[in-house]
Each structure stands twice: as structure tokens, then as C-alpha cells.
């Protein structure tokens, strides 16, 4: 990852900034597209619980210099982990990142405060569909500021995986013993296996569906090289040829080939459907530094920053302004391959959005029982 970061460094950041100016002039996005919007407002530090790919250091430095706001970011792995953490510390946090149907759950528990998304100038850069997701809309406003999204797909190395698969079943094929990787997320892995078992709602499975998913997992485990800790590890194993099959977000093939010099990969959306994530930044209800959240979002979601974030971390985001910047930078082909300009794809009925399910504890137990000795 360090190698990737180095390649995508200051040079491209400056390139993005230059392209941004041109894009702003051409697209008429006006003030919403300036890299740094001068503003008179509150300054200070606020607490942000998020994933590490929601920002990059130069971005935070620039925002701090421009408007005097800096987040103190701490990280989490799973939605459930962040949810519990916010329940415990409440207003000590000011902003939390969350996924899809987890977001309304935060709201139901009174943990987050909705806001008028259209009151933010920078919202004009979002695809319109991203401002209108029904599950994030409540009478008081919108529950979060949309950020990134992706379905989880199967990537495979066609040199070794033949014939071309179309189902989750390929991951269970004994031909690929020790050649499959998936991220270490028990509930998600059980969800994939639930999809293969034909479960209707993979986060709220019946006992029979869970038993079938568990049986599938038992077949998967001998094929697993390892459970990876993060996406970068998955990419590295695909690039080195140690793994032939993996679950990953959109764009893993490009990162593996272009950034890591790995083989040409193919991807499939399994015929049984798959799970998808779409995340948002939520404002904590009663956060001690809540007044800094919206001014920060106004800055951090400027198209230039989002374009650079895309180039660094590689998955589509809901920011149309950033897409235009990428086109200006000559990165349209790359963005299109990530479906950057097709945000409505997240509404595909074959996708199950990440959600807080009632079968979570049973799913973890099923996972542990198979993976344990």
C-alpha cells in the first residue's frame, strides 16, 4: 500500500487541483467546486469515528490550513463495532461513518442527528440519486452525507480458474484448495454463503438458511488461503498469484494490474446476487463539537478531494463533481470501469445492502464453529 501511496502522491494531488479549476470553469459548478472554500465559521478539532480510506493526510492538512477545522480520526472495522462504540461514548464523538441500512438504525436509537443535506453547497456535487435514498430520508432531513459504494464481487485469475464461473459455488470447488481469499468479516462471509444457499435476507436468516450457509462455509474453509485483514492484503495476494479467487470491491482488478503489476483479473456478479455497501458520514446527536461537522463536510467533499480519494483508494463514490474532475484528468476510462458514473447501480435488486440483522449472533457462532478447531 505504501508503494501505491507513493505513486499517487503530491504530483497527482496538484494535477487534481489544476483539473478542478478547469472543471469548475467548464461545468459551471461554481463555488461548490473550489478546492478550498473560504468561510468564516467555527474552528477547532472534532472526533470522527471512521474507516481509514475516508480521507488522506494532505487533505486534512489543507482543510486545517484553510478553515481551521481538523478531525481527530479513530478507526473501526465493522459497522456493529462503531454502533456499539457510539452507544458507549455518545457525544464524545461528533461524526461517525456508517453503512447503508445501519444508518437508519443509528437514527432509530437516537444516536445521530439528521440535517438538511441541500443546505450544504457541496451537496450540489453529488449525484441526485445520492441525495434521495429513501432509507436515508426522514421528515427531519437526511441521515448522512453520502460517500462511497460498491457491491462485493468475485474476482478471479482466468489463467487458473476455468471455465468462467457465474456463481458463489466456484469458491467451494476443491480444485482451488488454498487459493481463495476473503476478508475477515464473519457476518459478511456467512452472508455470501447464505446467498449461495438461496437465503432471502442474508442478515436475517432462518435457522434452516443458517444451517445451509454454515454447510457451505465448511466447504469453503479448506479452499481459503487466509481471511485477509483488509482490501490491500487481498489485492497483494491476487497480485502475487498466491490467490486465484477473492471477494473484493469494484476496481480490484485495476489496482492489481495497474498498481501492483499483477495478472489480468476477471470479475463476476454471482447469479445468486451479492451484498453491497454504501457509506455516509453521520452527525452525532449531541456531539460536543457538532458545529464543526457540517463546515468540515463542506470542505472534505469538494470534488478535487474526492477525485484524489478515488485514485488513492479505488472504489466509486457518489460525487458527480469528482467524476468530472477525473474526466478532466484523463481518468475517465478508469472511473467508468469502477462504475463511478453509474451510482444507480447500487439500487440493483440483486444486491442486499449491509444491514444490522437479527441473525448476527447466530451467524458469528456458525462462523466460529466452522473456522474453530
Amino acid at each position: 500500500m505504501a508503494m501505491i501511496d507513493k505513486r499517487l502522491s503530491r504530483r497527482r494531488f496538484l494535477q487534481a487541483s489544476a483539473a478542478a479549476s478547469a472543471a469548475a470553469a467548464l461545468s459551471g459548478l461554481g463555488s461548490a467546486s473550489r478546492l478550498v472554500v473560504a468561510q468564516d465559521g467555527p474552528t477547532g478539532t472534532f472526533n470522527w469515528l471512521t474507516w481509514a480510506d475516508h480521507f488522506y493526510d494532505e487533505q486534512l492538512d489543507a482543510i486545517d490550513t484553510a478553515v481551521g477545522i481538523r478531525p481527530n480520526a479513530t478507526f473501526f472495522s465493522d459497522n456493529a463495532e462503531a454502533f456499539v462504540q457510539l452507544q458507549e461514548v455518545g457525544g464524545q464523538l461528533d461524526m461517525v461513518s456508517g453503512d447503508a441500512l445501519w444508518v437508519p438504525r443509528y437514527y432509530e436509537e437516537g444516536l445521530i442527528a439528521p440535517f438538511d443535506i441541500n443546505s450544504l453547497e457541496v451537496s450540489k456535487n453529488l449525484y441526485s440519486v445520492a441525495r434521495e435514498f429513501p432509507w436515508w430520508t426522514v421528515p427531519d432531513g437526511y441521515l448522512g452525507f453520502p460517500f462511497g459504494w460498491s457491491p462485493v464481487q468475485i474476482y478471479y485469475n482466468p489463467e487458473f480458474v476455468t471455465p468462467d464461473p457465474d456463481s458463489w459455488e466456484v469458491m467451494l470447488d476443491p480444485k482451488y484448495q488454498g487459493r481463495v481469499v476473503t476478508e475477515n468479516q464473519p457476518v459478511e462471509v456467512i452472508a455470501y454463503m447464505g446467498k449461495l444457499a438461496g437465503a432471502k435476507d442474508v442478515y436475517n436468516m432462518t435457522d434452516e438458511e443458517l444451517a445451509a450457509a454454515k454447510a457451505n462455509l465448511a466447504q469453503l474453509v479448506p479452499n481459503l488461503l487466509k481471511f485477509t485483514d483488509q482490501a490491500q492484503e487481498t489485492w497483494a495476494l491476487l497480485a502475487s498469484g498466491e490467490a486465484w479467487l477473492a471477494t473484493a470491491n469494484l476496481g480490484a482488478d485495476l489496482v492489481v494490474r495497474d498498481e501492483l503489476g499483477g495478472p489480468e483479473l476477471k470479475r463476476i456478479m454471482p447469479k445468486e446476487g451479492t451484498v453491497a455497501w454504501m457509506d455516509a458520514e453521520m452527525m452525532v446527536d449531541g456531539g460536543q463539537n457538532q458545529e464543526l461537522v457540517l463546515p468540515f463536510l463542506e470542505q472534505s467533499n469538494q470534488p478535487e478531494y474526492i477525485a484524489e480519494n478515488f485514485l488513492r483508494y479505488g472504489r466509486p463514490l457518489f460525487n458527480e463533481g469528482a467524476y468530472k474532475v477525473l474526466v478532466e484528468m484523463g481518468e475517465q476510462d478508469r472511473a467508468d470501469r469502477f462504475l463511478f458514473n453509474e451510482p444507480e447501480a447500487i439500487l440493483d435488486p440483486n444486491l442486499t445492502l449491509k444491514a444490522p440483522g437479527l441473525s448476527t449472533e447466530a451467524a458469528i457462532n456458525a462462523f466460529n464453529e466452522v473456522v474453530g478447531a
Binding site: A80, V84, E109, Q185, P186, P222, F227, S240, G372, A373
Partner: protein, 304 residues
């Protein structure tokens, strides 16, 4: 603390009872921060975990519905008991491995190496601590992996014709890396013990007719027993809770009990995770009590 208090109370009071109590408080004061830290950060946290372990998690929310189901699950699901057993076996093997490596190493160091070189070599032993645990384990991925250094060397030297996948992402990989990680702890504990040993006793034993192995068994080992037990504690106990090494080099087959417990916490199943953590903590306590029977605190502090 009780011992400290009773010692203070039994001390002669020159200025009456009030000043004796004042002197006791004065003695206690410097240790107070440590007691507070221990009480709040360790015992307090453990108390919370203990309470939560008897509750339930419903739809990601802890509910004070007292029950012992979480404990029952551990003992009624064979996978959990087996994984715990496997963890204990791994901890025992790594402890043996560390002792087998560290004992001859420190014996040689203390007996045959000059003081100056001893210091340099000991520094080399602890130098890995200067880098993060995570980096050291990642480095082992690069060494043991299919495209790693070890396979490269073996292939280049003609010992294997194609890269082996046996070195990592399995229990063997976990064992190797854990021995590497915990070797310094065993070596330092044994060094401190051997450093105080009078080696002329071995010569005397042999002069009196003991074979070298008899001299080692009957003279050396009993006298460095505190060091051996300390090394066992430093290695065996932390491995019971190991999470990172099996995650990085264990693959899907090298899972230890710590990994299963973490899955509960990451999935916000706090009550279940707390119960499992308490079972492990209880077991560690029992292990320490057993070790304690063979070891006085003074042994560790004063004799190494």
C-alpha cells in the same frame, strides 16, 4: 497492601498512634497511583466484563437479563472447547520451543562469553522490540510465504523444485512466528537466573562423581527453577490470548481461541464475547496460581 498496612501498624510509634498512621499513609502515597490504575483500569474493567458476561445482547444492545447461557455455549459447542484445547497445546509447544532454544543460548552466554559481549548479544536479543509487533509478524509473511525468502532460498539451492505452501497460513507458521516473538522473554528470564548461578558447583558435582547430565539435572535446573517458571509465565500466558499472529500467518486453519472471541466483539455480541474472555481469564488465573505454588514472588524479584 494488607501486608504493607500491617507492617506499618507493627512499627514502633515514637510520636503516638496518630503519627504512626501518618507515616503509614506517607509510605502508601507513592504507590497510590499504581493502585488506582490497577483498580480502575484493570479490576474495574474486569468487573464490567464479568457483569456483561451474565447479560444478553439483543439486536446489538446489551440487556441486563441475567443468565449463564453465554458460559454454557462455550462448554456445549465442541468447536469452542477444541479450539481452546488447541490454543493451550500451541501455548505449551511454543513455551517448550522457547525454553529449548533459550536455555542453551543463555547457558552459553553466561558461562563462556565476556561481560562486554554478553551485553551486546542481549541487546541484539531485545532489538526486535524496537519495531512494532505488527511489522515483525508481517515480515514473517514475506519470509515464509509462497513467494517468500525461504522458498526462494530452497528453490535456488535445489532442495525443492517448486515453492512450498507448507510454511505459512497454517499452525506451523503460527508456531514458528510465536517462538520468534516470545524467545526474548524466555531468554531474558533465564539469563537473569543463570547470571546468579555459581558454575563451580557443576565442577564440584562432577568431581564428586556426577555425570554432566546429572549435574545439570540435580544442581543447575533446581537452582534456576524460578527463571524457568518465570519464562513459562511470560510465554505461556500471553499466547492463550494471542490474536494477531494467527490472524496474519495462521490462515483459515491456524485460528486460536482469541480469534473467535474477537469475532464476537467485532460483531457487537458483547455478552457472548465477555463470557468467553472471562473463561480464558479464569484459566490464566488458575495457571498463575499453579505456578505460584512453585514460585515465591521473591524468586522473581530477587533471584531472577
Amino acid at each position: 497492601m494488607t501486608e504493607l498496612a500491617s507492617r506499618s501498624e507493627s512499627a514502633p510509634a515514637t510520636d503516638g498512634q496518630g503519627s504512626g498512621r501518618g507515616r503509614a499513609i506517607g509510605r502508601l502515597l507513592p504507590a497510590l497511583p499504581a493502585f488506582l490504575v490497577l483498580g480502575v483500569l484493570f479490576l474495574g474493567a474486569m468487573a464490567f466484563a464479568l457483569v456483561f458476561s451474565f447479560w444478553k445482547t439483543e439486536n446489538f444492545v446489551l440487556v441486563a437479563d441475567w443468565n449463564v447461557d453465554n458460559y454454557a455455549k462455550f462448554f456445549t459447542v465442541p468447536a469452542y472447547v477444541r479450539t481452546f484445547g488447541k490454543t493451550l497445546l500451541m501455548a505449551a509447544l511454543v513455551t517448550l520451543g522457547c525454553l529449548a532454544l533459550a536455555l542453551p543460548f543463555t547457558y552459553f552466554l553466561v558461562r563462556y562469553v565476556s561481560r562486554r559481549w554478553q551485553r551486546i548479544i542481549l541487546l541484539a536479543v531485545i532489538i526486535p522490540f524496537w519495531t512494532s509487533y505488527l511489522l515483525r509478524v508481517y515480515a514473517w509473511q514475506a519470509i515464509l510465504g509462497e513467494k517468500g525468502v525461504l522458498n526462494l532460498v530452497l528453490e535456488t539451492s535445489g532442495l525443492i523444485s517448486e515453492p512450498s505452501r507448507l510454511f505459512v497460513y497454517n499452525d506451523f507458521g503460527v508456531f514458528i512466528v510465536l517462538v520468534y516473538v516470545y524467545f526474548p522473554f524466555a531468554a531474558l528470564a533465564l539469563y537473569a537466573s543463570l547470571d546468579r548461578f555459581d558454575f563451580s558447583q557443576l565442577t564440584a558435582a562432577q568431581d564428586l562423581g556426577a555425570r554432566p547430565d546429572q549435574a545439570l539435572r540435580h544442581i543447575l535446573i533446581p537452582q534456576i527453577r524460578p527463571g524457568i517458571i518465570t519464562a513459562c509465565i511470560f510465554v505461556f500466558v500471553p499466547i492463550i490470548g494471542e490474536y494477531l499472529t494467527p490472524t496474519l500467518v495462521g490462515g483459515a486453519q491456524g485460528v486460536l481461541i482469541g480469534n473467535l472471541v474477537v469475532n464476537f466483539f467485532r460483531g457487537a455480541q458483547i455478552a457472548q464475547g465477555a463470557a468467553f474472555a472471562m473463561i480464558i481469564a479464569l484459566f490464566v488465573t488458575v495457571v498463575l496460581v499453579v505456578f505460584r505454588r512453585h514460585l515465591q514472588v521473591e524468586d522473581v524479584v530477587a533471584r531472577g
